[in-house]
Symmetry: C2
Subunit: 349 residues, 2 copies
């Protein structure tokens, strides 16, 4: 198992990416290719303890900035660490890649260099959120801002395949994120998606509301990337605010401080459950390769876990499962997942 790591794109510089990848090489017994400025990568590795035979460096002279447009990143920065990491997958030197850089650019690069799984027009970011039951897969968490109905239907199939393979759920309950369970509820986009998914060979449970993400009533939540990103970041923000608020409140008196000390194991568990670093990254589903998107400010631990996720995606054969499910569902539905009418022309091509 060989994972290429874009070491340059993160908000915190190369350190957490280099060290997290080196840790993964030790702990997960996989090989990593550290892609980026060779001098900087060597500096970061200096003094670190890692298996030298499983950590390679590939120099790349350019860095994709957070504000580079995806198209410009792909076309003009041909020697970027991001492009070189994806290229390693295309050329078969790596089995998967991860990046903490510009998400739009990573998606565009992956789509261009690796191509899409047949029947999938746009890759989507799948993220795991905690719920009162098992973790829930939410997608798209930010790759596609303006979507057509058929894109959301394709996300549903990818989420179903991911939940089957990675979470081990036999018949994942797939819900469409909206504002009420009734068929008539939704916006222009989701009302049309709801119709299509109702007829698809999926365990589609219908429209679900925001609260259903966290109450264990659904396994896969489908939405466009604009909403998915807002939901994900709102949840992260609220989890942080709640923790801050509880901490402050627990420090407000001596008995509370004592109580908090006695119960501190519970707070550690809480932190672990809601900490995105524990999850590492979010897979970009839909390309023919394995790509994992990391938070821009990922810690070394998050990077190590993201490498682990890439390995898991490979191990579980998620892409093959997506391809199977697309063929089965699109086949059964007689092209259900393609153009539904004249209105649905896609200005993004």
């Amino acid at each position: 198992m060989r994972v290429a790591v874009d070491c340059m794109g993160g908000d915190l510089g190369p350190a957490p990416l280099v060290l997290g990848a080196a840790e993964a090489a030790s702990a997960l017994r996989c090989s990593v290719i550290l892609v980026g400025d060779e001098d900087q990568i060597r500096d970061e590795l200096e003094g670190a303890d890692y298996p030298r035979d499983r950590v390679a460096i590939q120099h790349a002279s350019e860095v994709v900035a957070m504000d580079d447009s995806p198209t410009a990143a792909v076309r003009r920065k041909r020697d970027s660490s991001m492009l070189k990491a994806v290229e390693a997958v295309r050329e078969g030197r790596a089995d998967g890649c991860i990046s903490a850089g510009n998400t739009g650019a990573f998606m565009a690069t992956a789509k261009l260099l690796l191509g899409s799984i047949k029947g999938i027009e746009r890759p989507a970011i799948a993220t795991l959120l905690p719920s009162s039951g098992q973790d829930v897969v939410l997608l798209d968490a930010g790759a596609n801002v303006d979507c057509k109905p058929r894109h959301l239907c394709q996300f549903a199939i990818m989420g179903d395949a991911f939940a089957r393979r990675v979470l081990g759920i036999a018949e994942p309950r797939v819900g469409l994120l909206g504002i009420g369970a009734e068929d008539s509820k939704g916006n222009e986009l989701t009302r049309r998606v709801h119709q299509t998914l109702s007829a698809a060979e999926l365990n589609y449970v219908g429209n679900v509301e925001g609260r259903d993400i966290f109450n264990g009533s659904v396994d896969v939540v489908v939405c466009d990337g604009f909403i998915g990103n807002i939901v994900l970041k709102s949840a992260e923000g609220l989890a942080v605010a709640v923790a801050d608020f509880l901490r402050e409140s627990l420090m407000a008196s001596l008995p509370r401080r004592l109580g908090a000390r006695l119960a501190r194991g519970a707070f550690t568990e809480y932190k672990r459950k809601l900490d995105y670093a524990e999850r590492g990254g979010a897979p970009l589903l839909g390309t023919t390769g394995v790509c994992v998107v990391c938070h821009g400010s990922s810690s070394a631990k998050a990077v190590r876990n993201a490498v682990g996720e890439a390995a898991q995606m490979l191990d579980k054969g998620v892409n093959a499962r997506i391809a199977d499910r697309v063929a089965a569902i699109a086949g059964a539905g007689g092209g259900l997942l393609r153009h539904h009418g004249a209105q649905e022309t896609d200005s993004q091509g």
Copy 2:
């Protein structure tokens, strides 16, 4: 101060509405008109302790159901408790009204019977969310599913006026909910809104992300009602899941149970901070009257607090402030808040 209460529309039947309104009449020294099936209302009041001179009953023979279309509710159920409650405001027999019923129908009824504030085309639901600083106003929280850019601009002005009057903030920081701070980030809708708001006479801080709702960096968060409703319900759902998870974790060992007991005041404070019942309802801003939308499953406490919110809206003159701000901002911007181009025709009329 007289508030008309639609007693029939809630998910839990008339009991919490009748008793919550009666409590408000006692505690807040306001008058309430209980609108709905007279027999049922009298049954609920039986044995309750309330100021008889400040609690009136108005019979209404029909009930708007949760799945009635807004248009059908307004046109066909002319003797519904919802319509009669709004009518009491129009006829000057009440100063404001509240409903826990079908939100779309309540909005349509309020808009039709009370009319809109000049310059506001669509009323919006403003909800308060907890943050690490002062509470944040999020709007629209569910009244308008598909919006045009100018609607969101109007929501921004209403949110600004509400934050000034009700939260007492001198120059509220207004943010547009999206997926990144950069000007180019957003979906088709928000990119256009961002341009307009950047030029408006508001303390507009630009695009904000989901996490900014809760981190104290903004006072007013503007979005369409589809996204606002999803964010609101996600936050409610996550708060419940977090509380359940912490409770379970705190019960897992004897020291933790002891600790939780010592610190229980902190958990009570947490619950209060995140409990929507404490907030009561959410004002529907933009009509010429005062209307407060309650959660369908509101408790009596929530209803009492919603009556309190209606009273506060009246007391603080929120509607007059909205009218002033619309006139000032639309005036200064030379019609900034109206049609921006041929594409922006509104299919909803």
